[in-house]
């Protein structure tokens, strides 16, 4: 490995060790976003709640679903979908937003990726409170089986970090990538089992099963959603798919770091 590449990977490790910096920056980032709003960080929560109520009751009727099952399903689905989407779209501006710091202070740049990771993660945690309320209201079963959600959470959290890494580099170099991704994700949203249950589609049109099975977002969401809703682990396909996705993203993130290294600063 060339000397430069060694330095770069040492920089990545150095960045991780500087957790006292990026954790604080992540919290600060979140506080700042809602400084000027009336409700504060609660706004994220209200946003989700309104969405759940609006979509929930209409689609429950439309799709012939029992709200007691559908509302929790929808809530956790939206939360996890937003987690992934924010990782891509907001993660994309991780470097761009910190341009001032990057060009003035010689910290290894990967702390800014970790900052974004904390910021996006905290936002998601806040919305999880909405799910907790929904779960309590609809008396979702909480068993030991619910703990199966933990490996799922580990997978989706790692995915978030890897997506932030990949898109922060790509979007800094090509400033329209985050926007393009956002547009594509909007389309993907309508075919992903978030606002409709997967088995509804699979029962009515079994030949469209591939739409669900080939959708990476679906699997990443399922490994967390299924245990939380039913206390049982998700299908093994989903764990397998999520693992493959993690490997692919891991390779992607490594490649993107190795290709750009510190030269990403020239794209700022």
């Amino acid at each position: 490995m060339s000397e430069q590449l060694q330095t770069t990977f040492r920089d990545v490790l150095r960045s991780v060790r500087l957790w006292h910096i990026w954790v604080r920056l992540g919290f600060l980032d979140l506080r700042m976003r809602f400084r000027r709003s009336a409700v504060g960080p609660g706004w994220i929560f209200v946003n989700l709640a309104v969405l759940v109520v609006a979509i929930g009751f209409i689609y429950a009727n439309l799709l012939g679903q029992d709200p007691r099952d559908f509302i929790p399903y929808l809530t956790i689905g939206l939360i996890l979908w937003n987690y992934l989407t924010n990782s891509i779209v907001e993660g994309g501006s991780a470097f761009v937003n910190c341009e001032g710091y990057i060009k003035q202070i010689g910290l290894p740049i990967y702390v800014y990726l970790l900052r974004a990771f904390v910021s996006v993660g905290l936002t998601t945690l806040i919305t999880m409170c909405a799910f907790v309320i929904v779960a309590l209201y609809y008396r979702l079963p909480i068993t030991t089986g619910t703990l199966f959600a933990l490996p799922g959470l580990a997978m989706i959290t790692t995915t978030s970090l890897l997506l932030i890494t990949i898109f922060a580099h790509l979007n800094t170099r090509f400033r329209d990538i985050a926007h393009m991704a956002q547009v594509l994700l909007q389309v993907l949203f309508y075919v992903t089992p978030v606002i409709f249950p997967a088995d509804l589609l699979l029962r009515r049109r079994p030949n469209l099963a591939y739409v669900v099975q080939l959708n990476p977002m679906y699997h990443l969401i399922e490994v967390v959603r299924r245990p939380l809703l039913t206390g049982a682990p998700a299908d093994w396909h989903s764990y397998a798919a999520a693992s493959v996705i993690l490997i692919v993203l891991g390779v992607g993130a490594t490649m993107v770091i190795a290709v750009f290294q510190r030269r990403i600063v020239f794209a700022l």
Binding site: R24, L28, G100, R262
Partner: protein, 263 residues
């Protein structure tokens, strides 16, 4: 032991609008919809080699655009050179332009904490020094409001107060005393001296040739990205002020000039 070592460093910038900075423009070019514009390359630093050891205070002079700021940023690890080696030992504390690097919605206090963290101060140290930083900035109650309301002078006071509270091993200064009102400059001078004394190694880019001999025993003269002189401050300054030479001045020429002038 703190040290800075540069070997044959080249730094190039590929300039602005000529670059493809969107995927759209790359694709458009690929499909022949847009003429390829040739990107321009600016050679900010050319074949720069220098070595600075602990205990040295080195000045950095040259005309605007000579590459002083760029050289400092290479030393700080902000810009990686295209060619050559950079080896820096010790914790670097850069004091560069203060205009960016603020959280606009955050209060003065929050910005002090953030900046101090980024400069390498540990949280406990920051809390200890918070009062004295706030006192020196002289911003009083303004620290409680978001900094987006600040004037440019206030930004400078805030950033300066924070940045000068670090304990640096290597201090890199880029023309930081240029702005601010008279009273501030006076108090800043003492604080700067203090800071420079605490540092093990200082590189100080400046246009103020009168203060330079007081701080730095050695000075490097840059011209168009090249090191044209590297030696005792008084001589290099003389070379800079006396010459607008037709040929590129070199160290050899400086020797000749010195030998020729009466001492």
């Amino acid at each position: 032991m703190a040290s800075i070592h540069l070997e044959n460093v080249d730094l190039e910038f590929r300039v602005g609008a000529e670059r493809h900075d969107t995927l759209n423009s790359v694709l458009a070019h690929r499909f022949g919809l847009r003429r390829r514009r040739v990107p321009r390359t600016v050679n900010a630093l050319q074949n720069v080699s220098l070595s600075i050891r602990a205990g040295e205070r080195v000045g950095l002079i040259g005309h605007n655009g000579a590459g002083k700021s760029t050289l400092l940023k290479v030393m700080a690890g902000i810009y990686p050179p295209q060619r050559g080696r950079v080896a820096v030992e010790g914790h670097v504390c850069p004091l560069f332009e203060f205009v960016t690097g603020f959280e606009m919605e955050a209060t003065g206090w929050e910005n002090i904490r953030t900046r101090a963290l980024l400069l390498g101060m540990m949280p406990k140290e920051i809390e200890r020094k918070l009062e004295s930083i706030a006192a020196f900035s002289n911003l009083g109650e303004f620290l409680d409001i978001p900094v987006r309301h600040y004037s440019s002078g206030m930004y400078i006071r805030l950033a300066f107060a924070t940045s000068t509270a670090v304990d640096p091993q290597i201090l890199l200064l880029d023309e930081v005393m240029a702005a601010g009102d008279a009273a501030f400059i006076e108090s800043a001078r003492d604080r700067m001296n203090d800071l420079m004394e605490r540092a093990s190694l200082v590189v100080f880019a400046t246009h103020s040739l009168d203060v330079l001999p007081r701080f730095c025993e050695r000075t490097i003269l840059l011209r168009k990205g090249r090191v044209v002189a590297d030696g005792p401050t008084e001589e290099v300054v003389r070379l800079y002020t006396e010459g607008q030479p037709v040929t590129e001045p070199t160290l050899a020429n400086a020797e000749l000039a010195r030998a020729g002038s009466p001492r």
